[in-house]
Protein backbone atom coordinates (compact mmCIF):
# COMPACT_ATOMS: atom_id res chain seq x y z
CA UNK A 1 0.00 0.00 0.00
CA UNK A 2 1.20 3.44 -0.90
CA UNK A 3 0.94 6.20 1.71
CA UNK A 4 0.76 9.86 0.71
CA UNK A 5 1.73 12.41 3.33
CA UNK A 6 1.17 16.15 2.96
CA UNK A 7 3.42 18.71 4.65
CA UNK A 8 3.37 22.50 5.01
CA UNK A 9 6.13 25.05 5.47
CA UNK A 10 5.18 27.42 8.30
CA UNK A 11 6.79 29.80 10.76
CA UNK A 12 8.80 27.86 13.37
CA UNK A 13 6.59 27.27 16.39
CA UNK A 14 9.12 28.86 18.75
CA UNK A 15 9.13 32.19 16.93
CA UNK A 16 7.11 35.03 18.42
CA UNK A 17 5.20 36.51 15.52
CA UNK A 18 5.04 40.19 14.55
CA UNK A 19 2.22 41.92 12.75
CA UNK A 20 3.34 44.19 9.87
CA UNK A 21 3.16 47.92 10.57
CA UNK A 22 0.57 48.42 7.82
CA UNK A 23 -1.62 45.63 9.30
CA UNK A 24 -1.64 43.79 5.98
CA UNK A 25 -0.41 40.45 7.38
CA UNK A 26 2.05 38.80 9.73
CA UNK A 27 5.66 39.71 8.95
CA UNK A 28 7.54 36.64 7.71
CA UNK A 29 10.71 38.34 6.44
CA UNK A 30 13.86 36.77 7.88
CA UNK A 31 11.81 34.57 10.17
CA UNK A 32 12.85 30.97 10.85
CA UNK A 33 10.58 28.56 8.98
CA UNK A 34 10.01 24.87 9.63
CA UNK A 35 7.72 21.95 8.94
CA UNK A 36 4.33 22.39 10.62
CA UNK A 37 4.48 20.32 13.86
CA UNK A 38 1.30 18.37 13.05
CA UNK A 39 2.80 17.51 9.63
CA UNK A 40 5.89 16.10 11.39
CA UNK A 41 3.57 13.75 13.25
CA UNK A 42 1.90 12.79 9.96
CA UNK A 43 5.28 12.00 8.35
CA UNK A 44 6.31 9.95 11.39
CA UNK A 45 3.09 7.92 11.20
CA UNK A 46 3.59 7.23 7.49
CA UNK A 47 7.20 6.15 8.07
CA UNK A 48 6.16 3.87 10.95
CA UNK A 49 3.55 2.25 8.69
CA UNK A 50 6.36 1.49 6.27
CA UNK A 51 8.60 0.14 9.02
CA UNK A 52 5.75 -2.15 10.13
CA UNK A 53 5.44 -3.46 6.58
CA UNK A 54 1.96 -1.98 6.12
CA UNK A 55 3.09 0.69 3.68
CA UNK A 56 5.28 -0.15 0.70
CA UNK A 57 6.06 3.42 -0.33
CA UNK A 58 5.77 6.83 1.33
CA UNK A 59 5.29 9.85 -0.95
CA UNK A 60 5.55 13.35 0.54
CA UNK A 61 3.80 16.29 -1.11
CA UNK A 62 3.69 20.03 -0.46
CA UNK A 63 2.13 23.12 -2.01
CA UNK A 64 4.14 26.30 -1.62
CA UNK A 65 7.08 28.44 -2.71
CA UNK A 66 10.42 27.07 -3.91
CA UNK A 67 11.78 27.21 -0.35
CA UNK A 68 9.17 24.64 0.71
CA UNK A 69 11.46 22.03 -0.86
CA UNK A 70 13.41 22.23 2.42
CA UNK A 71 10.43 20.68 4.19
CA UNK A 72 10.14 17.98 1.52
CA UNK A 73 13.85 17.18 2.02
CA UNK A 74 13.15 16.92 5.75
CA UNK A 75 10.32 14.48 5.04
CA UNK A 76 12.68 12.48 2.78
CA UNK A 77 15.34 12.46 5.52
CA UNK A 78 12.74 11.18 7.98
CA UNK A 79 11.98 8.24 5.69
CA UNK A 80 9.73 9.27 2.80
CA UNK A 81 10.79 7.64 -0.49
CA UNK A 82 10.04 10.43 -2.93
CA UNK A 83 8.46 13.86 -3.02
CA UNK A 84 6.18 16.05 -5.10
CA UNK A 85 6.46 19.82 -4.93
CA UNK A 86 3.55 21.83 -6.33
CA UNK A 87 5.24 25.18 -6.64
CA UNK A 88 3.41 28.48 -6.26
CA UNK A 89 4.20 31.82 -4.66
CA UNK A 90 0.56 32.72 -4.16
CA UNK A 91 -1.32 32.58 -0.88
CA UNK A 92 -3.06 29.22 -1.20
CA UNK A 93 -6.13 28.59 0.95
CA UNK A 94 -7.15 25.20 2.31
CA UNK A 95 -9.71 24.61 -0.45
CA UNK A 96 -7.15 25.08 -3.23
CA UNK A 97 -4.62 22.88 -1.42
CA UNK A 98 -7.30 20.21 -1.06
CA UNK A 99 -8.12 20.45 -4.79
CA UNK A 100 -4.44 20.00 -5.68
CA UNK A 101 -4.04 17.10 -3.26
CA UNK A 102 -7.18 15.49 -4.69
CA UNK A 103 -5.49 15.52 -8.12
CA UNK A 104 -2.37 13.93 -6.62
CA UNK A 105 -4.56 11.28 -4.93
CA UNK A 106 -6.20 10.57 -8.30
CA UNK A 107 -2.79 10.17 -9.94
CA UNK A 108 -0.97 8.27 -7.19
CA UNK A 109 -3.88 6.13 -5.89
CA UNK A 110 -2.58 5.87 -2.30
CA UNK A 111 -4.23 3.50 0.18
CA UNK A 112 -3.93 6.08 2.92
CA UNK A 113 -3.30 9.81 3.00
CA UNK A 114 -1.95 11.29 6.25
CA UNK A 115 -1.99 15.03 7.00
CA UNK A 116 -1.58 17.17 10.10
CA UNK A 117 -4.89 18.21 11.63
CA UNK A 118 -4.08 21.88 11.21
CA UNK A 119 -1.26 24.25 10.32
CA UNK A 120 -0.07 26.57 13.08
CA UNK A 121 -0.14 29.66 10.86
CA UNK A 122 -3.72 29.94 9.62
CA UNK A 123 -5.09 27.45 12.19
CA UNK A 124 -7.78 26.45 9.69
CA UNK A 125 -8.13 22.72 10.38
CA UNK A 126 -9.79 22.11 7.00
CA UNK A 127 -7.51 20.61 4.38
CA UNK A 128 -7.80 16.92 5.31
CA UNK A 129 -11.57 17.04 5.57
CA UNK A 130 -11.87 18.94 2.27
CA UNK A 131 -9.55 16.48 0.54
CA UNK A 132 -11.65 13.59 1.85
CA UNK A 133 -14.84 15.19 0.54
CA UNK A 134 -13.38 16.04 -2.87
CA UNK A 135 -11.90 12.55 -3.27
CA UNK A 136 -15.10 10.89 -2.06
CA UNK A 137 -13.18 9.17 0.73
CA UNK A 138 -13.89 8.64 4.43
CA UNK A 139 -11.92 10.58 7.03
CA UNK A 140 -10.42 9.93 10.44
CA UNK A 141 -9.57 13.36 11.82
CA UNK A 142 -7.64 14.28 15.00
CA UNK A 143 -6.22 10.75 15.16
CA UNK A 144 -4.40 9.49 18.23
CA UNK A 145 -4.16 5.88 16.99
CA UNK A 146 -4.25 4.37 13.49
CA UNK A 147 -4.45 0.61 12.97
CA UNK A 148 -4.67 -0.76 9.42
CA UNK A 149 -6.58 -4.04 9.32
CA UNK A 150 -6.89 -5.59 5.84
CA UNK A 151 -9.05 -3.34 3.69
CA UNK A 152 -10.10 -1.23 6.67
CA UNK A 153 -8.47 1.16 9.12
CA UNK A 154 -9.45 1.71 12.74
CA UNK A 155 -8.91 5.27 13.88
CA UNK A 156 -9.09 6.51 17.47
CA UNK A 157 -9.96 10.20 17.48
CA UNK A 158 -9.48 12.94 20.06
CA UNK A 159 -12.95 14.41 20.48
CA UNK A 160 -14.32 16.93 23.00
CA UNK A 161 -14.55 15.10 26.30
CA UNK A 162 -12.75 11.91 25.35
CA UNK A 163 -11.90 9.45 22.60
CA UNK A 164 -13.93 7.97 19.74
CA UNK A 165 -12.99 4.96 17.64
CA UNK A 166 -14.31 4.56 14.10
CA UNK A 167 -13.67 2.12 11.27
CA UNK A 168 -13.10 3.41 7.75
CA UNK A 169 -12.92 1.58 4.46
CA UNK A 170 -9.65 2.08 2.56
CA UNK A 171 -8.53 4.24 0.89
CA UNK A 172 -9.02 6.83 3.61
CA UNK A 173 -7.78 10.22 4.81
CA UNK A 174 -6.22 10.57 8.26
CA UNK A 175 -5.36 13.81 10.08
CA UNK A 176 -2.88 13.61 12.92
CA UNK A 177 -3.40 14.97 16.42
CA UNK A 178 -0.62 15.57 18.94
CA UNK A 179 -0.66 12.23 20.68
CA UNK A 180 -0.52 10.04 17.58
CA UNK A 181 3.24 9.60 18.00
CA UNK A 182 6.46 11.37 18.90
CA UNK A 183 8.33 12.30 15.74
CA UNK A 184 11.97 11.28 15.43
CA UNK A 185 14.82 13.60 14.51
CA UNK A 186 16.52 13.17 11.15
CA UNK A 187 20.03 11.66 11.38
CA UNK A 188 22.86 13.26 9.46
CA UNK A 189 23.46 10.30 7.09
CA UNK A 190 19.72 10.28 6.30
CA UNK A 191 19.81 14.02 5.60
CA UNK A 192 22.65 13.37 3.13
CA UNK A 193 20.80 10.47 1.51
CA UNK A 194 17.62 12.57 1.25
CA UNK A 195 19.38 14.96 -1.14
CA UNK A 196 19.52 12.16 -3.72
CA UNK A 197 15.93 11.00 -3.39
CA UNK A 198 13.57 11.94 -6.28
CA UNK A 199 11.65 15.21 -6.02
CA UNK A 200 9.21 16.15 -8.79
CA UNK A 201 8.33 19.79 -9.31
CA UNK A 202 4.87 20.66 -10.66
CA UNK A 203 2.68 23.74 -10.81
CA UNK A 204 -1.03 24.18 -10.00
CA UNK A 205 -1.49 24.67 -13.75
CA UNK A 206 -0.19 21.14 -14.40
CA UNK A 207 -3.18 19.89 -12.44
CA UNK A 208 -5.61 22.40 -13.95
CA UNK A 209 -6.36 23.89 -10.54
CA UNK A 210 -7.06 27.61 -10.03
CA UNK A 211 -5.65 28.63 -6.63
CA UNK A 212 -7.36 32.03 -6.32
CA UNK A 213 -9.75 32.29 -3.38
CA UNK A 214 -12.90 34.33 -2.82
CA UNK A 215 -11.77 35.10 0.70
CA UNK A 216 -9.75 38.28 1.10
CA UNK A 217 -7.59 39.22 4.03
CA UNK A 218 -8.60 42.78 4.93
CA UNK A 219 -6.53 43.35 8.02
CA UNK A 220 -4.28 41.64 10.57
CA UNK A 221 -3.94 43.08 14.06
CA UNK A 222 -2.21 42.19 17.29
CA UNK A 223 -4.69 41.01 19.91
CA UNK A 224 -5.51 43.29 22.82
CA UNK A 225 -2.66 42.96 25.33
CA UNK A 226 -3.69 41.81 28.74
CA UNK A 227 -2.25 43.87 31.56
CA UNK A 228 -0.70 42.05 34.48
CA UNK A 229 -2.43 42.77 37.78
CA UNK A 230 -1.26 42.74 41.35
CA UNK A 231 0.45 40.23 43.61
CA UNK A 232 -1.42 39.36 46.75
CA UNK A 233 0.36 38.33 49.95
CA UNK A 234 -1.97 35.70 51.31
CA UNK A 235 -4.91 33.40 50.64
CA UNK A 236 -7.10 35.71 52.74
CA UNK A 237 -6.19 38.71 50.61
CA UNK A 238 -6.83 36.70 47.45
CA UNK A 239 -10.31 35.67 48.59
CA UNK A 240 -11.06 39.23 49.68
CA UNK A 241 -10.04 40.62 46.26
CA UNK A 242 -12.05 38.01 44.38
CA UNK A 243 -15.13 38.72 46.51
CA UNK A 244 -15.01 42.49 46.82
CA UNK A 245 -12.95 43.80 43.91
CA UNK A 246 -13.43 41.33 41.05
CA UNK A 247 -16.79 40.16 42.41
CA UNK A 248 -16.43 36.68 40.95
CA UNK A 249 -16.99 34.74 44.18
Amino acid sequence: MKVLVAVKRVIDYNVKIRVKADNSDVDLTNVKMAMNPFCEIAVEEAVRLKEKGVATEVVAVTVGPKAAQEQLRTALALGADRAIHIETDERVESLAVAKLLAKVVEEEQPGLVVLGKQAIDTDNNQTGQMLAALSGLPQGTFASEVVVDGDKVNVTREIDGGLQTITLSLPAIITADLRLNEPRYAKLPDIMKAKKKPLDVKTPGDYGVEVASKVSLLKVESPAERQGGVKVASVDELIDKLKNEAKVL
Binding site: I11, K16, V26, E93, S94, L95, I120, D121, D123, N124, N125, Q129, M130, A132, A133, L134, L137, P138, Q139, T141, F142, R157, E158, I159, D160, G161, G162, L163, Q164, T165, I166, T167, L168, S169, L178, S213, K214, V215, S216, L217, L218, K219, V220, E221, S222, R226, G228, G229, V230, K231, V232, S234, V235, L238, I239, K241, L242, A246, V248, L249
Partner: protein
Protein backbone atom coordinates in the same frame (compact mmCIF):
# COMPACT_ATOMS: atom_id res chain seq x y z
CA UNK B 1 -30.19 36.23 4.76
CA UNK B 2 -31.00 32.72 5.91
CA UNK B 3 -28.71 30.90 8.27
CA UNK B 4 -28.50 27.24 9.20
CA UNK B 5 -26.84 26.39 12.52
CA UNK B 6 -25.68 22.82 13.00
CA UNK B 7 -26.47 21.90 16.61
CA UNK B 8 -23.86 20.35 18.86
CA UNK B 9 -24.98 17.22 20.66
CA UNK B 10 -23.61 15.90 23.90
CA UNK B 11 -24.71 12.31 24.56
CA UNK B 12 -27.94 12.95 22.66
CA UNK B 13 -28.73 16.22 24.45
CA UNK B 14 -28.26 19.69 23.02
CA UNK B 15 -24.69 20.83 23.68
CA UNK B 16 -24.12 24.18 25.40
CA UNK B 17 -22.12 25.47 22.42
CA UNK B 18 -25.22 25.78 20.24
CA UNK B 19 -26.57 28.79 22.20
CA UNK B 20 -23.32 30.62 21.44
CA UNK B 21 -23.45 29.75 17.74
CA UNK B 22 -27.06 30.98 17.55
CA UNK B 23 -25.80 34.26 19.07
CA UNK B 24 -23.30 34.53 16.21
CA UNK B 25 -26.10 33.78 13.73
CA UNK B 26 -28.26 36.50 15.31
CA UNK B 27 -25.35 38.91 14.96
CA UNK B 28 -25.25 38.21 11.21
CA UNK B 29 -29.01 38.72 11.11
CA UNK B 30 -31.76 37.04 9.13
CA UNK B 31 -33.80 33.90 9.46
CA UNK B 32 -32.03 31.45 11.79
CA UNK B 33 -32.73 27.72 11.56
CA UNK B 34 -31.09 25.02 13.66
CA UNK B 35 -30.37 21.54 12.31
CA UNK B 36 -30.41 18.79 14.91
CA UNK B 37 -29.08 15.61 13.29
CA UNK B 38 -28.52 12.34 15.12
CA UNK B 39 -30.40 9.35 16.44
CA UNK B 40 -32.97 9.81 19.21
CA UNK B 41 -32.53 13.57 19.32
CA UNK B 42 -36.10 14.85 19.82
CA UNK B 43 -35.21 16.28 23.25
CA UNK B 44 -32.25 18.14 21.77
CA UNK B 45 -34.49 19.54 19.02
CA UNK B 46 -37.05 20.70 21.60
CA UNK B 47 -34.28 22.44 23.55
CA UNK B 48 -32.97 24.09 20.36
CA UNK B 49 -36.49 25.38 19.59
CA UNK B 50 -36.37 27.48 22.75
CA UNK B 51 -33.16 29.33 21.85
CA UNK B 52 -33.77 33.05 21.32
CA UNK B 53 -33.74 34.10 17.68
CA UNK B 54 -34.35 30.65 16.21
CA UNK B 55 -37.32 30.60 13.81
CA UNK B 56 -37.26 26.92 12.90
CA UNK B 57 -35.62 23.70 14.03
CA UNK B 58 -35.04 20.99 11.45
CA UNK B 59 -34.62 17.54 12.90
CA UNK B 60 -32.93 14.68 11.03
CA UNK B 61 -33.44 11.71 13.33
CA UNK B 62 -32.01 8.59 11.74
CA UNK B 63 -29.49 5.87 12.59
CA UNK B 64 -27.23 7.02 9.75
CA UNK B 65 -26.62 10.29 11.62
CA UNK B 66 -25.83 8.61 14.95
CA UNK B 67 -22.58 9.92 16.45
CA UNK B 68 -22.57 12.60 13.74
CA UNK B 69 -19.99 10.85 11.55
CA UNK B 70 -18.44 13.21 9.02
CA UNK B 71 -19.45 11.47 5.80
CA UNK B 72 -23.25 11.31 6.26
CA UNK B 73 -23.34 14.66 8.09
CA UNK B 74 -21.45 16.36 5.26
CA UNK B 75 -23.78 14.82 2.69
CA UNK B 76 -26.87 15.91 4.65
CA UNK B 77 -25.60 19.49 4.91
CA UNK B 78 -24.94 19.58 1.17
CA UNK B 79 -28.57 18.52 0.58
CA UNK B 80 -29.94 21.24 2.88
CA UNK B 81 -27.49 24.07 2.18
CA UNK B 82 -29.26 25.25 -0.99
CA UNK B 83 -31.80 27.06 1.18
CA UNK B 84 -29.21 29.14 3.02
CA UNK B 85 -26.67 31.97 2.69
CA UNK B 86 -24.69 30.87 5.76
CA UNK B 87 -24.05 27.55 7.49
CA UNK B 88 -22.60 27.79 11.00
CA UNK B 89 -21.37 25.25 13.53
CA UNK B 90 -19.38 25.55 16.72
CA UNK B 91 -15.63 25.03 16.44
CA UNK B 92 -16.05 21.80 18.41
CA UNK B 93 -14.45 18.59 17.25
CA UNK B 94 -17.76 17.81 15.50
CA UNK B 95 -18.05 21.16 13.75
CA UNK B 96 -14.42 21.03 12.67
CA UNK B 97 -14.85 17.49 11.42
CA UNK B 98 -18.02 18.03 9.40
CA UNK B 99 -18.13 21.57 8.03
CA UNK B 100 -15.07 21.51 5.74
CA UNK B 101 -16.70 18.61 3.85
CA UNK B 102 -19.71 20.82 3.13
CA UNK B 103 -17.50 23.71 2.06
CA UNK B 104 -15.42 21.56 -0.30
CA UNK B 105 -18.47 19.92 -1.88
CA UNK B 106 -20.04 23.36 -2.47
CA UNK B 107 -16.69 24.66 -3.81
CA UNK B 108 -16.48 27.45 -1.23
CA UNK B 109 -13.93 28.39 1.42
CA UNK B 110 -14.55 27.94 5.11
CA UNK B 111 -13.88 30.52 7.79
CA UNK B 112 -12.72 28.72 10.95
CA UNK B 113 -12.98 29.82 14.59
CA UNK B 114 -14.78 33.10 13.98
CA UNK B 115 -14.77 35.32 17.12
CA UNK B 116 -16.60 38.42 15.84
CA UNK B 117 -19.13 39.33 13.15
CA UNK B 118 -18.36 42.61 11.36
CA UNK B 119 -21.06 42.21 8.72
CA UNK B 120 -22.81 39.42 6.83
CA UNK B 121 -19.63 38.72 4.83
CA UNK B 122 -16.82 40.02 7.06
CA UNK B 123 -15.57 38.33 10.19
CA UNK B 124 -12.69 38.30 12.65
CA UNK B 125 -10.78 35.15 13.45
CA UNK B 126 -7.60 34.37 15.37
CA UNK B 127 -4.55 33.12 13.48
CA UNK B 128 -1.11 32.02 14.71
CA UNK B 129 -2.62 30.59 17.91
CA UNK B 130 -4.39 33.83 18.69
CA UNK B 131 -1.22 35.90 18.44
CA UNK B 132 -2.84 37.82 15.59
CA UNK B 133 -6.44 38.58 14.70
CA UNK B 134 -7.37 38.53 11.02
CA UNK B 135 -10.34 40.35 9.49
CA UNK B 136 -11.50 38.34 6.49
CA UNK B 137 -14.17 38.92 3.87
CA UNK B 138 -15.81 36.11 1.95
CA UNK B 139 -17.32 36.66 -1.50
CA UNK B 140 -18.51 33.08 -1.74
CA UNK B 141 -22.25 32.64 -2.34
CA UNK B 142 -22.44 30.32 0.66
CA UNK B 143 -20.52 31.24 3.80
CA UNK B 144 -19.41 28.20 5.78
CA UNK B 145 -18.27 29.19 9.25
CA UNK B 146 -17.18 27.57 12.48
CA UNK B 147 -17.70 29.74 15.54
CA UNK B 148 -15.46 29.93 18.57
CA UNK B 149 -17.99 29.90 21.39
CA UNK B 150 -15.95 32.17 23.68
CA UNK B 151 -16.47 35.03 21.20
CA UNK B 152 -20.26 35.15 21.66
CA UNK B 153 -22.42 35.18 24.80
CA UNK B 154 -24.97 32.37 24.78
CA UNK B 155 -28.54 33.35 23.89
CA UNK B 156 -31.25 32.58 26.43
CA UNK B 157 -34.05 30.08 26.03
CA UNK B 158 -37.29 32.06 25.85
CA UNK B 159 -38.25 31.10 22.31
CA UNK B 160 -40.73 28.67 20.85
CA UNK B 161 -39.77 27.76 17.29
CA UNK B 162 -41.48 25.12 15.20
CA UNK B 163 -39.76 21.75 14.87
CA UNK B 164 -39.91 20.22 11.41
CA UNK B 165 -38.64 16.84 10.23
CA UNK B 166 -36.06 16.56 7.47
CA UNK B 167 -36.85 13.71 5.14
CA UNK B 168 -33.38 13.52 3.56
CA UNK B 169 -31.65 10.24 4.41
CA UNK B 170 -28.18 9.69 2.99
CA UNK B 171 -26.21 6.46 2.59
CA UNK B 172 -22.97 5.74 4.43
CA UNK B 173 -20.96 2.67 3.51
CA UNK B 174 -17.56 4.18 4.25
CA UNK B 175 -17.37 4.79 7.98
CA UNK B 176 -18.81 3.18 11.08
CA UNK B 177 -18.79 3.92 14.77
CA UNK B 178 -16.98 1.46 17.03
CA UNK B 179 -16.86 3.00 20.48
CA UNK B 180 -16.59 6.16 22.48
CA UNK B 181 -14.91 6.72 25.83
CA UNK B 182 -16.00 9.97 27.39
CA UNK B 183 -14.50 11.13 30.65
CA UNK B 184 -17.22 10.72 33.29
CA UNK B 185 -17.51 13.71 35.54
CA UNK B 186 -20.13 15.52 37.60
CA UNK B 187 -18.32 18.76 36.94
CA UNK B 188 -19.33 21.25 34.24
CA UNK B 189 -17.90 20.92 30.73
CA UNK B 190 -14.50 22.59 30.46
CA UNK B 191 -15.57 24.66 27.44
CA UNK B 192 -18.68 26.08 29.10
CA UNK B 193 -17.73 26.33 32.80
CA UNK B 194 -17.99 29.71 34.57
CA UNK B 195 -14.98 28.84 36.72
CA UNK B 196 -11.97 26.77 35.67
CA UNK B 197 -9.21 25.55 37.97
CA UNK B 198 -6.17 24.27 36.06
CA UNK B 199 -3.04 22.50 37.19
CA UNK B 200 0.37 22.46 35.52
CA UNK B 201 3.65 20.67 35.80
CA UNK B 202 4.07 22.22 39.26
CA UNK B 203 1.40 19.80 40.53
CA UNK B 204 4.18 17.19 40.53
CA UNK B 205 2.07 14.15 39.66
CA UNK B 206 -1.45 13.03 38.75
CA UNK B 207 -2.32 12.12 42.33
CA UNK B 208 -1.79 15.74 43.45
CA UNK B 209 -4.51 16.92 41.02
CA UNK B 210 -6.90 15.74 43.75
CA UNK B 211 -5.87 18.89 45.63
CA UNK B 212 -7.87 20.81 43.01
CA UNK B 213 -11.03 18.73 43.53
CA UNK B 214 -12.19 20.36 46.76
CA UNK B 215 -11.70 23.85 45.37
CA UNK B 216 -13.47 22.95 42.15
CA UNK B 217 -16.36 21.46 44.17
CA UNK B 218 -16.78 24.64 46.19
CA UNK B 219 -16.64 26.89 43.13
CA UNK B 220 -18.66 24.63 40.80
CA UNK B 221 -15.61 24.68 38.55
CA UNK B 222 -14.29 22.49 35.75
CA UNK B 223 -10.75 21.18 36.12
CA UNK B 224 -8.22 21.80 33.36
CA UNK B 225 -4.52 21.27 32.84
CA UNK B 226 -1.61 22.69 30.91
CA UNK B 227 -0.02 20.81 28.05
CA UNK B 228 3.05 20.23 30.24
CA UNK B 229 0.88 18.37 32.76
CA UNK B 230 -0.70 16.31 29.98
CA UNK B 231 2.65 15.54 28.35
CA UNK B 232 4.02 14.48 31.74
CA UNK B 233 1.18 11.97 31.94
CA UNK B 234 -0.47 13.53 35.02
CA UNK B 235 -3.92 13.80 33.43
CA UNK B 236 -5.67 12.88 30.16
CA UNK B 237 -5.49 15.10 27.09
CA UNK B 238 -9.16 16.08 27.14
CA UNK B 239 -8.35 18.27 30.18
CA UNK B 240 -5.83 20.30 28.22
CA UNK B 241 -6.34 24.06 28.01
CA UNK B 242 -4.30 25.81 25.34
CA UNK B 243 -3.64 26.26 21.68
CA UNK B 244 -3.64 22.52 21.12
CA UNK B 245 -6.41 21.81 23.64
CA UNK B 246 -9.56 23.62 24.72
CA UNK B 247 -10.00 27.35 24.39
CA UNK B 248 -11.78 28.64 27.48
CA UNK B 249 -12.94 32.08 28.65
CA UNK B 250 -14.59 31.63 32.05
CA UNK B 251 -15.48 34.34 34.57
CA UNK B 252 -12.67 33.09 36.79
CA UNK B 253 -9.60 31.09 35.77
CA UNK B 254 -7.27 29.81 38.47
CA UNK B 255 -3.88 28.62 37.18
CA UNK B 256 -2.02 26.50 39.70
CA UNK B 257 1.60 25.51 39.14
CA UNK B 258 1.40 26.68 35.52
CA UNK B 259 4.34 28.72 34.22
CA UNK B 260 2.35 30.32 31.40
CA UNK B 261 3.83 29.13 28.10
CA UNK B 262 2.46 30.98 25.03
CA UNK B 263 0.61 27.86 24.02
CA UNK B 264 -1.27 27.76 27.34
CA UNK B 265 -2.01 31.50 27.35
CA UNK B 266 -3.55 31.11 23.89
CA UNK B 267 -6.21 28.93 25.50
CA UNK B 268 -7.20 31.07 28.48
CA UNK B 269 -6.13 34.69 28.12
CA UNK B 270 -9.67 35.84 27.31
CA UNK B 271 -10.87 34.76 30.77
CA UNK B 272 -12.49 37.62 32.70
CA UNK B 273 -10.41 37.26 35.87
CA UNK B 274 -7.19 35.25 36.04
CA UNK B 275 -5.59 34.07 39.27
CA UNK B 276 -2.10 32.55 39.23
CA UNK B 277 -0.59 30.51 42.04
CA UNK B 278 3.06 29.68 41.47
CA UNK B 279 6.20 29.38 43.54
CA UNK B 280 8.31 31.10 40.86
CA UNK B 281 7.62 34.81 41.05
CA UNK B 282 9.20 35.30 37.60
CA UNK B 283 6.75 32.90 35.93
CA UNK B 284 5.22 34.50 32.79
CA UNK B 285 1.73 33.56 33.99
CA UNK B 286 1.93 36.54 36.41
CA UNK B 287 2.14 38.90 33.43
CA UNK B 288 -1.44 38.06 32.47
CA UNK B 289 -2.87 37.34 35.92
CA UNK B 290 -5.12 39.86 37.65
CA UNK B 291 -4.16 38.39 41.01
CA UNK B 292 -0.92 36.52 41.62
CA UNK B 293 -0.02 34.58 44.71
CA UNK B 294 3.60 33.47 45.03
CA UNK B 295 4.09 30.44 47.20
CA UNK B 296 4.01 26.69 47.65
CA UNK B 297 0.83 25.34 46.10
CA UNK B 298 0.85 22.38 48.51
CA UNK B 299 0.30 24.83 51.36
CA UNK B 300 -1.89 27.31 49.50
CA UNK B 301 -4.40 24.86 48.00
CA UNK B 302 -5.59 23.29 51.31
CA UNK B 303 -5.82 26.73 52.87
CA UNK B 304 -7.79 28.09 49.91
CA UNK B 305 -10.14 25.11 50.00
CA UNK B 306 -10.84 25.53 53.73
CA UNK B 307 -11.45 29.29 53.48
CA UNK B 308 -13.67 29.39 50.40
Amino acid sequence: MSILVLADLHEGQLGGATAHVVAAANAIGGDVHVLVAGEGVQAAADAAAKLDGVSKVRIADNAVYAHQLAEPMGALLVELSGDYTHVLASASTTGKNVLPRLAALKDVSQLSDVIAVESADTFKRPIYAGNAIATVKSDDALKVITVRTTGFDAVESNGNAAVESVSVVVENGQSSFVKQELAQSDRPELGGAKVVVSGGRGMGNGENFKLLDGIADKLGAAIGASRAAVDAGFVPNDMQVGQTGKIVAPELYIAVGISGAIQHLAGMKDSKVIVAINKDEEAPIFQVADYGLVGDLFEILPELESKL
